[in-house]
């Protein structure tokens, strides 16, 4: 397994290096009209370097490192999401509880591998306690909006994202210790799918997919990105417990749910009147802009694997 991981990181680093070189050559020789596209591309590549380094470092640090990484991602995502939405001054204590009690407890349950607890802690316990807290402190004003948005924040930013590291702790796969193969498969397939959808859309995009929600997504980009990323997923099936045919189906499902996640988060952004969740990652936007596909694909992959492979 470790050999596979090393190979994966090496190949990824090589691809990024090629992209970086391409970007520098393009910056030197490009026409001024393309200057901003190239600058955006170079910013994105730069951000990708950092992200790969951070992921590699936390995987290297073991199970604890991976859990801490995703807990930090959840914190950053929560901060972005909750800044955008309708909370009241009275919800301050509820928000404190969300950041400093619910999130750490949830990730502790993930760390210990207590599936029975981490799978219901937020959907049952937090969902019961947040509305009570909101009602007692803030009263009924704007109640539905406030409570729904706080619940939604918990589900997307904490619960869904945490399924990515949870994959490494699936009991059947991790008898000899945490198994990062499936989690890496998830991240690689979804991120490559995003990048290729963007690239294909840029090159061949003609028919908009959902213009009201996401102005840049096109059917051509979608088709090209999803087909290529599914192929990648099949090529990576060594990291997973799937045989050839299941890996085709499951890789396709991961890509499709990733697109669903991206579209949903775009709809949320349009509703709130912003283009990006924040400008934390140069060239990409906020952390939620980067993990939106993992949010939806992670839980689906986790439960499909758990159901069929024990």
């Amino acid at each position: 397994m470790n050999h596979d991981l090393t190979v994966i990181f090496a190949v990824t680093a090589a691809v990024l290096l090629a992209a970086w070189l391409l970007g520098r050559i393009a910056a030197r020789h490009a026409r001024p009209a393309n200057a901003s596209t190239i600058e955006n591309f170079n910013q994105r590549v730069g951000a990708w370097w950092w992200m790969i380094v951070v992921v590699a470092a936390s995987v290297g640090a073991g199970w604890g490192g991976a859990v801490v990484l995703f807990a930090a991602i959840s914190f950053l995502a929560l901060r972005e999401f909750l800044t955008l939405v309708n909370t009241d001054r009275a919800d301050h204590r509820t928000l404190l509880a969300i950041f400093f009690i619910v999130t750490p407890c949830h990730y502790y349950f993930i760390y210990r591998g207590w599936y029975g607890l981490f799978s219901i802690f937020i959907p049952v316990w937090a969902f019961v306690l947040v509305p009570i807290s909101a009602a007692l402190r803030g009263g009924p004003r704007n109640f539905m909006a406030r409570v729904s948005e706080m619940q939604w924040a918990l589900i997307i930013c904490v619960y869904f994202i945490s399924y990515a590291p949870a994959l490494a702790g699936l009991p059947e796969l991790s008898r000899k210790g945490p198994n990062f193969g499936l989690a890496l498969y998830l991240m690689l397939v979804t991120q490559v799918s995003d990048v290729l959808q963007y690239a294909f859309g840029h090159l061949f995009g003609k028919h908009a997919m959902a213009p009201a929600v996401s102005p840049h997504k096109t059917w051509e980009g979608f088709a090209g990105g999803v087909v290529c990323a599914t192929a990648l997923g099949v090529a990576l099936r060594r990291l997973t417990p799937f045989a050839l045919v299941p890996s085709i189906i499951i890789s396709l499902v991961v890509c499709l749910t990733g697109v669903a996640g991206g579209l949903t988060m775009s709809a949320i952004k349009r509703d709130c009147g912003v283009k990006d969740f924040s400008s934390l990652i140069p060239g990409h936007g906020g952390i939620l802009d980067r993990v939106d596909s993992i949010c939806f694909a992670g839980p689906v992959l986790f439960h499909v694997t758990r159901f069929f492979y024990g």
Binding site: F75, R89, R93
Partner: protein, 210 residues
């Protein structure tokens, strides 16, 4: 830990917690004597502005803070040693003598070419509107010539630490510095204050149309 190392650490922590994004509209930092005037929604407001300044300017830019809030234990140490704040007793409305004293303290605080961070609304609002400005800033400008008045728009701090709360919640905050405004001795005070307030409101309208 020395005072300035602690100051850098606190500034970094504040910027990191709020992922502070700073925008400059017709503005750049300079060593000129200034009054940064801002809207007021949270006790964290001046901390956030202070944290966004370049290190060299931080030592010479003094926030004006309410003495009653910043007088206890740790807060007093922070206010004096780290922020070099000018602590002022908030004058009750209509108390002319106390208001004059406050102005004197502000003018003294600016001695040696120091700049100020000031909240002309006088008290924390809810964040929805910018209230009418108190006259203190005009009185200070009468006594010190050539001060640059920089409108500074703060957004988000009321959600990090609202009125009455003790613990901050990490939320994204934004700061916008606008083009400097200057005092005109011929101008009636009310018009001057309105002009200042207007320059701040313009920064806010700029954001929503962008």
């Amino acid at each position: 830990m020395t005072g300035s190392a602690l100051a850098s650490l606190i500034a970094w922590a504040v910027r990191a917690t709020t992922s502070l994004s700073v925008k400059h509209v017709g503005h750049s930092f300079s060593g000129a004597q200034r009054i940064y005037f801002a809207n007021h929604v949270s006790h964290l407001d001046f901390v956030v502005i202070w944290a966004s300044l370049p290190r060299q300017l931080r030592a010479k830019t003094r926030p004006v803070a309410a003495a009653d809030y910043w007088s206890g234990g740790l807060r007093r140490v922070l206010a004096e040693r780290v922020f070099h704040a000018v602590l002022v007793n908030r004058p009750a409305g209509g108390d002319v003598h106390a208001a004059k004293e406050a102005v004197t303290e502000l003018v003294e605080g600016m001695s040696g070419g120091c700049s100020l961070i000031l909240f002309p609304e006088g008290t924390r609002g809810s964040g929805a509107n910018v209230a009418a400005f108190h006259g203190g800033i005009a009185a200070v400008c009468q006594q010190i010539a050539g001060v640059e008045l920089v409108p500074t728009l703060i957004e988000g701090t009321q959600r990090v630490l609202p009125k009455g709360e003790l613990f901050p919640v990490p939320m994204l905050c934004r700061l916008t510095f606008g083009p400097p405004v200057y005092y005109d001795a011929q101008e009636p005070r009310r018009l001057f204050l309105d002009r200042l307030r207007q320059s701040l409101c313009e920064l806010r309208d700029l954001k929503s149309s962008a």
